[in-house]
Structures are given as structure tokens and as C-alpha cells.
């Protein structure tokens, strides 16, 4: 018997890692996941080493200058913005080239912005209108310096961003958002929707299954008829309609998914209850006058619990895939970042026209790995509850 302990399953550690990322992953990134951090469709940093990276620098009164070593060609964009509460008369933002030549970027004022593509900025630099501002500001290799010069107090931050075309672990999407940050933010949605929907569906299915199996009669036949009917209708079209009707919020999605995925559990629990109903100890309980609700709650439910745990874990991938499918079809809240939504955006913008495959792989593989992990965990739990199953797939 190999790999019987929980801690020796890869899926356990995978789920632990993903859960940790979902809880604390946001702290890995300085900017919120929906902030624009680099040029749209920037490549992952490890992909094309000849491309300049995306460089950012912040100047504050405590650190009024920053050195920028540069050994690539020109970046696609040179962008400086001052985030301040008030103007700082007498101070200017300076750009010093490796040779020592100094260019005045702008006076330090509240809300001042300079973009290398801007006509007025190019004219101020003395460039012809069709010149590339970024290329003329970074025209040699060496160490550049951005600084705030002059006299007088100032408060706030001066931000510099050089868009090179490379960013982060997974690059950026069509809006210049960091895909790694989006990926981490998406874990939360997938886990939340998958687990919540399965929990609610299991609760529903267990209730129906217990009642149908124990009570029998018209309730049983009606419930099982309903299960048969719901199982024979294609689910995705209904989910699509419901998502369009009830709105695209996260909780609506959880509700919709759980309403249409309790049937399997109901069947399993019913079968189990049926076989338990006529056992001697349950008959004894009935004989000594135990109320039905008591028998169901204290004796039948605990019997089904170990089985339920495995069924539940095996049900999570279905819910995750359904959520991803609906989001992929664009039927989710566009403000909520989820892996399905990322795939939707990858298909709608960019993946094919811009060749940005890095938008596609992280969320897709994320879904696949998460689902496989839950599947493996479910198999493990199933084996623990029913040792005859040992030796199946993935074990």
C-alpha cells in the first residue's frame, strides 16, 4: 500500500500552495491586480532577453534621485508623472544621460505628466514632430539618472516608467495588467466558487437523498423523477440563461451552479439510505419510538458523511469548470478577476491577433491543475472510505 498518508499526495501540497496564494498572494505584488503596470502585451521577462525590460522608479523628498542602468535599445514609451498635493515652485525634474548631459523634463507641479509620444513634450525637447521621444531620451547605453533639482520644499512622488516590452513572470494583458497578479487573484474566485457551490449542492442533495430514501413513497418517486429530468437536459444553456437573468455577480453564480448540481449527490445518498433503512439497528430505533428526524440526523447522516466528503471533493472540479466556462463565455462580472474571465479576454483580445500566448496558458493550466488536484484528493478520500477502490487512476 503506497502513499496512504495525506502529506505524501502531490495534490495535498498543491492545494495548500494554491490556498496560501489565494490568501496571501496579493502581497507578492506592489500594485493591485487591475492596475496598469506596463505596456499592453508585454512579454514575460524570461522570454526575449534582447527586448528592454519595463523599468519603474519612484522619486520622493527622501530619495530625490534614481539611477537607471540601461543596456538595451530604446523603450517603447518614456513616461514621467508627478503625484503631488501642491506645486513645488523652483523645482524641476531632470534627466541626466550617461555622458553627463542634462535634459529638463518638466517643472515640478501638481499633476504634471510627460510622455515621450506627446507632441508638446517633443517640441519642448527640441525634437521634430515625428521623432521618437523615448529613443532620443535613451539613445546610449549606461547609467541614466532621474532627479528632482532646485530649491524649495516639495512633497509627493515622481514616477518614471520605461515600457520595454517585458514584464513580470507572465507578462501583461491587453490593458497592461500584470498577468501573474491576475492569476493569483483568480485563484480566489475559482476556489471560492468551486467550494461554495459544491457545499451548497451537497447540502441540497443530501437533504433530498436522505428524505427520498427514508420516506419513500410519492416523495421518493417525485424527487427521483426530477433528478432524472434535470440530468437529461444540457446544463450549460440553462446556466447561461440563468446567468443572464440573475445577473453576473459571484454569489448569483454560486447559487446557479449549486441549484443545478445536486442531483448526483441526491442519487448516491438515496441509494445508501435505502440500504441502511432496513438494517436491524435502524429498525430497532424505530421500534423504540425514535422520531424520524432524529434517526435521519443522528444515525443516517453520519453514516453517509465519509462518502459525502469524497463525493464533494470530486464535485469541486465540475463547479470550477462550469464557472470557468460561463466566465469564458463572457457571462461573469467583468470587474471580478477570474481564470475564466482571463481566458475570455485572451480570446477576445490579443491571443490570436497579438500572438500573446502568455495570456492563455497561466489561467488555463491553473484551472487544469486545480481540477486535477481536487480529483486526486477526492480519489484519496474515496480510497480511505472504501479501500477496495485502491489502484485506480492517478493513484
Amino acid at each position: 500500500m503506497r502513499r496512504r498518508t495525506l502529506t505524501r499526495r502531490w495534490s495535498f501540497w498543491c492545494l495548500v500552495l494554491l490556498a496560501a496564494l489565494a490568501l496571501f498572494g496579493g502581497r507578492l505584488f506592489s500594485a493591485p491586480p487591475d492596475a496598469e503596470v506596463a505596456a499592453p502585451f508585454s512579454k514575460p521577462f524570461w522570454l526575449d532577453r534582447s527586448l528592454p525590460p519595463t523599468v519603474t522608479a519612484d522619486l520622493t523628498p527622501d530619495a530625490p534621485s534614481a539611477e537607471i542602468p540601461w543596456s538595451w535599445g530604446a523603450p517603447s514609451r518614456f513616461f514621467v508623472a508627478a503625484d503631488m498635493v501642491a506645486d513645488a515652485p523652483g523645482r524641476t525634474i531632470l534627466w541626466t544621460k550617461p555622458g553627463g548631459r542634462t535634459v529638463e523634463i518638466a517643472p515640478l507641479k501638481k499633476g504634471v505628466e510627460r510622455d515621450g509620444r506627446d507632441m508638446a513634450f517633443k517640441r519642448a525637447l527640441g525634437l521634430p514632430p515625428f521623432a521618437d521621444g523615448a529613443a532620443s531620451l535613451l539613445d546610449e547605453r549606461g547609467t541614466y539618472r532621474l532627479s528632482v533639482d532646485g530649491q524649495g520644499p516639495w512633497e509627493g512622488t515622481v514616477r518614471l516608467r520605461l515600457d520595454g516590452g517585458r514584464w513580470g513572470l507572465f507578462g501583461t494583458d491587453q490593458r497592461g495588467r500584470d498577468i501573474a497578479a491576475l492569476f493569483v487573484a483568480g485563484i480566489r474566485v475559482s476556489l471560492l466558487v468551486g467550494i461554495m457551490a459544491t457545499l451548497i449542492a451537497t447540502a441540497l442533495g443530501t437533504t433530498v437523498g436522505l428524505a427520498a430514501g427514508y420516506l419513500g413513497g410519492w416523495f421518493d418517486s417525485a424527487a427521483m423523477r426530477l433528478v432524472d429530468l434535470l440530468l437529461s437536459i444540457p446544463m450549460l444553456p440553462i446556466l447561461m440563461a440563468l446567468a443572464a437573468i440573475w445577473g453576473k455577480g459571484l454569489w448569483q453564480l454560486v447559487l446557479i451552479l449549486s441549484i443545478f448540481s445536486w442531483m448526483g449527490t441526491a442519487r448516491t445518498v438515496r441509494a445508501m439510505t435505502l440500504s441502511l433503512r432496513d438494517t436491524a439497528y435502524i429498525e430497532d430505533l424505530r421500534g423504540i419510538g425514535a422520531p424520524t428526524a432524529y434517526i435521519l440526523r443522528r444515525h443516517l447522516l453520519p453514516e453517509t458523511l465519509p462518502l459525502l466528503l469524497a463525493t464533494m471533493t470530486l464535485g469541486v472540479p465540475g463547479a470550477i469548470l462550469s464557472e470557468a466556462g460561463l466566465s469564458f463565455l463572457g457571462l461573469s462580472d467583468p470587474r471580478v478577476i477570474s481564470w475564466g474571465r482571463m481566458l475570455h479576454e485572451a480570446q477576445t483580445f490579443g491571443t490570436f491577433t497579438a500572438g500573446a500566448w502568455w495570456m492563455l496558458l497561466p489561467p488555463g493550466l491553473g484551472i487544469a491543475v486545480l481540477c486535477l488536484a481536487f480529483l486526486d484528493m477526492g480519489k484519496y478520500l474515496e480510497e480511505r472510505t472504501d479501500p477496495r477502490l485502491r489502484g485506480g487512476a492517478l493513484s
Binding site: R225, D228, L229, L231, S232, I233, P234, M235, L236, P237, I238, M240, A241, L242, A244, I245, G247, P317, L321, A324, G325, F328, L329, G330, L331, L343, A346, Q347, T351, F352, G355, W357, L360, L361, P363, G364, L365, I367, A368, C371, L372, F374, L375, G392, A393, L394
Partner: protein
Amino acid sequence: MRSYWARRVGSSVLILALVLVLNFVLFRMMPGDPVASIVDPKFSPEAKARLMEVYGLDKPMLTQFALYVKSSLSFDFGISFLTGRPVADELRSRVPNTVALLGSSLLLSALLGTWLGIQAARKRGGALERLVLWGGALSYSFPSFFFQLMLLMVFAAAIPIFPLRGSLSVPPPLGGAALFLDYVWHLALPVLSQVLLGFGGWALYVRNLMVKILGEDFILMARGRGLPERRVLRGHAFRMLLPPLLTILLLSLPGVVSGAVLTETVFSLHGVGRFLMEAVTGHDYPAAGASFFLLALLTVASTLASDLLYGVTDPRVRLERGRGR
């Protein structure tokens, strides 16, 4: 005792009835004023009322439902709010595409899956068995649309051997044979992706069933009689395999139809699923209701067909008394 056939047909009718009710309730509850999408808000109230009348939206709910059932059963789905053309016309050109996609991918994945499953069961512990086990696990956990997007990325965008979108080239080629080839070329990648995603589940089922069947006494007996292995497999084991295979087909149909909606969207095929998708996002009730109804009808019809086939292959179900299969 009611006959098996009557019960099967009866349950199909019941499913259809449920679909009709669900359909009516769901799509009447859609948000957004449906008239608003075709009428300028600046229109006079009279013009708006006139339009409501044309689309039958002013009558009481029950009358609307009766009208709805009558028109659904006669495939008269009204006029699309978005295109202004009869929905039936829009759908007529799409149904064959969806049927072709579903039919060919189901058939191919069933054939491939069954064959692989049998081979895996014959040589247990081999590389093929491992492939089947992993293929099965992956087909449960791999998001289909992601897999399809990757296929598109590789075989349509990076290496352009397959078209990126659509069911036919624009403009379509002239001539019957060229048109057919163009159609097959456009359908190839969607079908291939569905087969690659679907065969794993089949193979896993067949392998598990076959392992059980090959352990039965009558197989031992057949082998003991000195029958060639080929005969044992085809004459004895396969006959036992057929009824449960049909059950799997039956149970997988709704899922396959759901998958087709995604597939058609990913590959921008001219099918019912994508029509539903567009209708749902555009608050186009008649179109959405009609395509949902057609998809459900397609499922119910194929379920009924395999149910009846089940009765043919396994006499026990046909002759069984009372409820249940």
C-alpha cells in the same frame, strides 16, 4: 404492464414538457426591456405598444405560454429581436452544422475510446493502459475551451493549417466538392478537439467494464473451450459491453451538447450553440428560447434513440416488469 417502448417515449415527452416550461419561465424573466433593444427610446408610446403587440408581449402570461407551446411544437419561433428575421430561418441553416459537429465527434470518440479501452483491458499494466487512465482523468479536469484555444493557437495561428474561425470560407468556394471539402476543413479542428477531449472518458469506462467482463466465468469457459482470442473478445465479451456502453452514451449526451455550445463559440462555428450565446447576451428572447429548445430537443431525441437501441441490444430491459430500467 406498460411496454418498455411506451415508457421510454413517455419519459422523453415529460422531459420536453419540462424543457418548455423552464424555457418559457427562464426567458420571460430576462432582464432589460426586450423592446428597448430594437426601439429607439425616443419612439412614441403608441409605437412601442404596437411593437409589443406584434411580438405578443402585451397578452396575459398564460395566453403567452399557450401560444408559446403551440408555436414551439410547430417550430415557429417568432421573429428575432436583433436581426428582425424569423428565428426559424436563422436556425434552419445552423441545425445541420450542430448535428454534424455532435454526430461526428461523438461517433469518433466512441469508436476510438472503445477500441483503446478494450486494448487497455487486454494488456493490463501496459503503456496503453496508463494512457487511458491519464486520458480519462484529464478529460474530467481539463477545461475544454482552454484546450481548444490552445489548438487554435498552435494549428491555426502559429502554423496556419486550419482556419481560425467560421464554418465556411468567406466567400465560400464554388462547386459541390470544393464546398464540402471547405466545410470539412473548417470542422476538422473542432471535431478533433472534441474527440481528443472525449475519448479518455470513454476509454476509461470501457477499460473498467472490460476488466470486469474478462474476469467472468463465461469468458474463462470460452477460453477453456479453446476459442481463438478474437472470437472470445468479439463474440462473448463485446456483447456484454454493448448495453452499458449505450447507457454511458445516454448519460453523456447532455454534457456533450453543453460542450458543443462552448466549441461553437471558441471556433465561431455557424451553429445553434453560438446562436444561443449571442441571443443570451443580446436579450433576444425568441432566438435564445428557440435555440435552447432545439438543443434540448436534440438531446432528448438522441437520448430516446439510444434508449430504444438499448432495448434492442439487451432483451432483459425490454421484458422487465414494473418501474426502472
